[in-house]
Amino acid sequence: MKFKRKYIDTDSLMSTILVFVTLVLLPLFLSFNFFMPLKNAFYDFAMTDINYAKLRSPEKELADTNIVLIDIGRMSNSKLADLLNILNQNKPRVIGIDKELRDDEDSASNKSLALALSNVNRLVLSNRLFYDKKTKNFDSISRSSEMFTKYGISGFTNQITIDDRSHETVRTFKIYTKVNVGAGSQPAPKGTGFAPKGTGFAPKGTGFAPKGTGFAPKGTDTIPKESGTISKESGSVQRDSIVHPFPVEVVHLYDPEKVQYLYSRNNEEEIINFRGYFNKYFFIAGEQVLNYEFNSNLFSGKILLLSYFDPFNMSPLFAYKYYSPLDSNYTGKSFPDMYGIEIHANVISMIINENYFNIIPSWLAIVLAFILCYLMIISYKYIDDKYPTWYELLSLVIFVIISLLLLGANYYSYHLLMLDLNLNYALFAIILASPIYEAYTKSIKPLLQRMFKNKS
């Protein structure tokens, strides 16, 4: 009791609790249909974006020379086969193709592409997961034709974490997800084992990694199985498959230990440490490769990422681009700024270089926000009691100082300590602190006191 009297001020505590109750109730108020965009804008806003967009110097960021981006435009299968043959002669470490390969061209073209793919030692193809809002599951996978997929492994290219909310900023990626197909799904066909030939990563047919190696993601008590096995059109995907994103599959073939480290961090989702746009990697147009206009060392031992990618097009199509935190328009309307393949390159670069961001867990962020809010309200109360005429001015000064400190801490921790302080809770709490303190001490409390007095 003595401790409570000495260190805990009831009014300040009650005001702080009210602040957090308001924080819980406010989103409910914004849930009306016509406030939804406002709610979405709030949710999409992250203080850390200001760091990327305005405070960081992109020119100081070094380029990653392990990755080469190659624009394949809308190449036909035969041209793509020629391109792959040239690339393959230059001994790349991994080739990742972020494009659905279709067998709808003439059979000679399809065969030449299949042959070129079969000659690639470490090949990753892309697939796309489809989310069913009703069942809240990814229930199907769209992928390249089976005549091509059998020569490599596949990773999903959905950038957004749960479903495809294309208007949100891509800040994180899921390191795995589960595909849950309804009844009637068929088992995986033969010959599509996860481990690619020659990678030595896992014995053929055993699945992704041996149980107990720490590689399997948290919460999955079984060995992750092969990613979706048949194209969406055929309608059967393995039930409850664990599937991995395209960049993780690429790194897995490049350096499996890096992926083991990623999974050892035990996060379902990782914040992407963006190095930059295409100019932070090697990039070359497919046509240049076909014309042999490249340095002979450019591809050797590298990760080659092939996709439709046209960074100099001033009027790109929306289908290929996403919003990233690097966009100088960190809030409000703007066109998406980053190609999907650029995001993959950033993720791959982060995993290879083990340049991860850490994030303060939400519960800790809430506790810290609570403490900060409580301390602010205590200081308000002190000023209100001792210097009532200065209260309004000084409370404003305190608010401005704390806001600036939060902004500084956010910047310092994010870019110097690689730590996301998860300050959104604290920011909203300190905005509400003063009005709620005043409402509580000057209205709610006296009214309650009067009510109880009358009753007694």
Partner: protein, 398 residues
């Protein structure tokens, strides 16, 4: 307690000063973007975006839109020839042909244009900073000799801003020039444009009602594949413009944000191609469905009056209900918010009247803080300073 008091006047003045100078802080580089978003946001957009029932709007059958896709000039010429056979009343092309591309490309297009009875091409108003004047950039004379021109610029089309208004007429080198959509409407139905100019407004708010699903749209390849089945364009306005490589593929080219965007705030894709914006303006002119708006001066006066009433309301609550003041002031603010929303939305929804009380929402956000600061700090502190000075200069007793 008096309604007109020096306290209410001072607090109103303080709020108006804050309103005037607050946005200076957004000049800091990293807050600039936030400022851009605040400036672009209009509460009335919610009416177009969320409240109007778009499905209930009838399609406008007077206008047909043709997608030119990524076609070169010779193929656009072919499109125009195909459509022109069916005798549309006006053909308008929302594409600038400002450079010569050689006879192989240009000649077929010029031939196609020469066969059109009423043809409108776009021009563009361009501000020359050095000469400090507006210039008109037109297509090459080979094409313009067969056409009338209208400028395609919208107001606020830059920096990802939302297009809400258009200027019917501008002056380039002191010569009056009409907007593209106005010129089209004039050729189709001159009386509609007379009504527009009778309104004598420098700019008009666009009555956005329809996107591509409410106009007849012919996709790029469809023109060639169904070349004999466009009899429905007879006597109609046909607008040629860019709607992506095909209508289903969304492109960033000539694509704008409008109040019909379902995300009226925050990140979103643009929702309407330029040619569809022109179609909306033409529909508005032909149907005479204008939006009426209060002039900026009247809005300013109304804002001052409402600010004063708000501050007087706070003073009343402070004096008459001192104990419950904090809670009641919060209720008062929310009630005003709700009232303004209701009035603005109702006026626009039912009476096509655009009342822009955006500043009042800012006033409400800071009003309580200003009132508290004034009565809690400024006034007592000023009084004590004056008292002290008064005491100091009090003449000594003789």
């Amino acid at each position: 307690m008096r309604f007109f008091s020096i306290d209410n006047i001072i607090t109103t003045g303080l709020i108006l000063l804050i309103l005037k100078f607050f946005f200076v802080i957004f000049q800091v580089d990293f807050l600039n973007q936030l400022n851009n978003q605040i400036q672009d946001f209009q509460i009335n957009d919610i009416v177009f975006s969320r409240l109007k029932d778009r499905d209930a709007v009838e399609p406008d059958t007077n206008i047909v839109i043709v997608n030119i896709g990524e076609l070169k000039r010779d193929k656009i010429a072919e499109q125009i020839n195909i459509i022109n056979r069916f005798e549309p009343k006006v053909v308008a092309v929302d594409v600038a042909f400002s450079k010569v591309k050689g006879d192989e490309m240009d000649r077929p297009l010029a031939d196609a244009f020469s066969k059109v009875k009423k043809l409108v091409l776009v021009s563009r108003l361009s501000y020359d900073k050095e000469k400090d004047k507006i210039e008109l950039v037109k297509s090459i004379p080979l094409f313009t000799q067969y056409a009338q021109c209208g400028f395609a610029n919208f107001i606020d089309e830059e920096d990802f801003r939302t297009v809400r208004k258009f200027s019917p007429r501008e002056y380039a080198n002191k010569d009056p020039v009409m907007a593209f959509s106005v010129k089209v409407a004039e050729l189709y139905y001159p009386y509609a444009v007379k009504m527009l100019f009778d309104r004598n407004n420098e700019s008009e708010i666009i009555y956005f009602e329809r996107n591509l699903n409410k106009y007849k749209v012919i996709d790029c390849e469809e023109v060639f594949n169904k070349r004999d089945s466009f009899s429905y364009v007879k006597g109609k306005i046909v607008l040629f413009g860019y709607l992506g490589p095909d209508v289903k593929t969304l492109s960033t080219e000539d694509n704008f944000y409008t109040p019909m965007n379902s995300n009226y705030i925050g990140k979103s894709y643009p929702d309407m191609y330029g040619v569809a914006v022109h179609a909306n303006i033409i529909s508005m002119l032909l149907n005479g469905r204008y939006i009426y708006a209060m002039s900026d001066n009247y809005v300013l006066i109304l804002t001052i009056v409402l600010t004063y009433l708000t501050m007087a309301g706070f003073t009343y609550l402070r004096i008459k209900h001192a104990e419950a003041y904090e809670s009641l002031s919060l209720v008062f603010i929310f009630a005003e918010f709700a009232l303004f929303f209701f009035v603005m939305f109702s006026l626009l929804y039912y009476f096509n009247y655009y009342l822009n009380l955006k500043n009042m929402f800012f006033v409400l956000a800071v009003s309580e803080m200003v009132s508290e600061s004034y009565f809690g700090s400024f006034k007592p502190l000023t009084k004590s300073v004056i008292d002290k000075i008064g005491y100091k200069f009090k003449p000594a007793k003789m």
